[in-house]
């Protein structure tokens, strides 16, 4: 198990960088937004991985258990709000993409840049 103790963080690193890769290398704006979502989920994973305590349980206090260990509630609070903010910003990004499509007829970044240069 000791070997796997850092596995969550490795997955975090991979997801974070895959998300970043999509944002950098893909031209399509919707794909970029999806990449951003992956990036964001990677950060969520990092925070939630930090909250786990061995032998702990979800931080909802139980009256029936004495000396129960609880996992750390603080990262959960931060991420809980971040998820809802994430969907709101995703919607904002999509709205902008839709408007760009209406104005330019495409959402591929290289084509957009070409049109702007002309």
């Amino acid at each position: 198990m000791a070997v796997l103790g850092l596995y969550n963080y490795w997955v975090f690193a991979l997801l974070l960088m895959i998300g970043l890769y999509v944002v950098i290398s893909r031209e399509n704006l919707v794909k970029k937004l999806i990449g951003l979502s992956i990036f964001q989920s990677a950060v969520f994973l990092l925070y939630i991985s930090m909250d786990k305590v061995d032998g702990g349980t979800a931080p909802i206090l139980r009256a029936d258990a004495e000396n129960q260990l609880y996992s750390n509630p603080l990262p959960q609070v931060l991420i809980l709000t971040a998820i809802v903010v994430g969907i709101a910003t995703l919607a904002l990004g999509l709205a902008i993409a839709v408007r760009i499509n209406e104005a330019y007829g495409t959402i591929e970044e290289d084509e957009l840049l070409e049109m702007d240069r002309e």
């Binding site: 850092l6 031209e27 992956i38 939630i48 786990k52 609880y70 750390n72 591929e108």
Partner: protein, 327 residues
């Protein structure tokens, strides 16, 4: 054993992500995002973050898919493969991955009770919540009371995002609504008898469950954010099976705007009431002679405010996308 489940799910998560990157069909990418969201929610659950898993389920798997599909209906659904050579990006990303992987070896291992995160305020929150606030769900206590400022800010970010979407997309939406909507928008899925019946049957349960999550949030997993997402999911379900127009007749856009604003103002109002009663901003203890009762009242009101704003904004966004005609 549970750790192994986590490892297993995380591996699936990475595979899914690679699939998302590789597919050029955006519709397929959105479906894979739905799977991604379910997987990461299961991982959150296994890592003891029940509230977060609930939020991710309602928001990520339900509403994000609906919104992405709504936007995709207005766009092309295939991505053209970029002509720009992305070798530089690959190199940068590979270097970054190695750097972060190298850094992880200094991290405390998963579940280490001696990790720095668990040393400072967190034990205090868990120890003092029963005395100061007396709600079993520590997450709700921190969200609404101890770190109320944070939540206050987040609610206004959501509020602003909703306004932003309206600004960007809603002009001319009224004109579109006055002229005839595409007939499919009027109909929704009306002529599909089975989904329509089941959808109508489930809608009240979703809203009811949302209300349960809203008001049971002090005792179990839940709270305003999750409840707002679930209630708006219920109404989105109604809009899908009965059509946009019927949904807007049920809850008109005016009401949604009102809900959004009322929620945000309720939050501010509770904060200001605390100040008027002699406490600090969002210091609910001032709301009642009994500090704990004051906290209960404050958390209840603030969570209602959050729920109203979240459901209002999410539904507004959904309707705004649905009302838009494809260019």
């Amino acid at each position: 054993m549970i750790t192994l489940f986590g490892v297993f799910l995380l591996t699936l998560l990475v595979i899914t992500t690679v699939g998302i990157v590789r597919t050029q069909n955006l519709f397929a990418a959105i479906m894979l995002m739905g799977i991604f969201s379910l997987q990461i929610a299961a991982v959150f659950f296994i890592l003891d973050a029940a509230d977060v898993a609930l939020t991710e389920a309602a928001v990520g798997a339900g509403i994000a898919t609906v919104l992405l599909l709504g936007a995709l209906a207005l766009l092309d659904d295939t991505e053209r493969r970029g002509r720009r050579a992305s070798r530089l990006a690959a190199v940068v990303v590979a270097a970054g991955t190695l750097l972060i992987l190298y850094a992880t070896f200094d991290y405390p291992r998963l579940g280490d009770p001696a990790a720095p995160v668990h040393q400072h305020v967190a034990p205090w929150y868990i120890a003092e919540t029963p005395r100061l606030i007396d709600t079993p769900n520590v997450v709700t206590a921190i969200l609404a009371s101890f770190r109320g400022y944070d939540t206050f800010g987040e609610v206004f970010v959501i509020f602003t995002a909703g306004i932003g979407v309206l600004f960007i997309l809603a002009n001319g939406a009224d004109a579109a609504r006055r002229s005839d909507l595409p007939s499919s928008d009027v109909q929704g899925l009306r002529h599909h008898l089975v989904p329509r019946l089941v959808g109508r049957l489930l809608m009240p349960f979703l809203v009811l469950f949302g209300l349960y999550i809203q008001f049971h949030g002090d005792f179990g997993p839940g709270g305003g954010f999750q409840a707002g997402a679930l209630i708006s999911a219920g109404l989105i379900l109604y809009a899908l099976v009965e059509g946009e127009r019927a949904a807007l007749r049920l809850v008109p856009q005016r009401v949604l705007t009102l809900l959004t604003v009322a929620g945000a103002l309720l939050f501010v109002g509770v904060g200001c009431a605390c100040m008027l009663l002699g406490g600090n901003f969002l210091d609910y203890s001032a709301l009642s002679a009994d500090a704990v009762a004051g906290q209960h009242l404050g958390i209840l009101l603030v969570e209602i405010g959050v729920g109203l704003t979240v459901s209002g904004v999410l539904l507004t966004i959904f309707h705004t996308f649905a009302a838009r005609e494809r260019a």
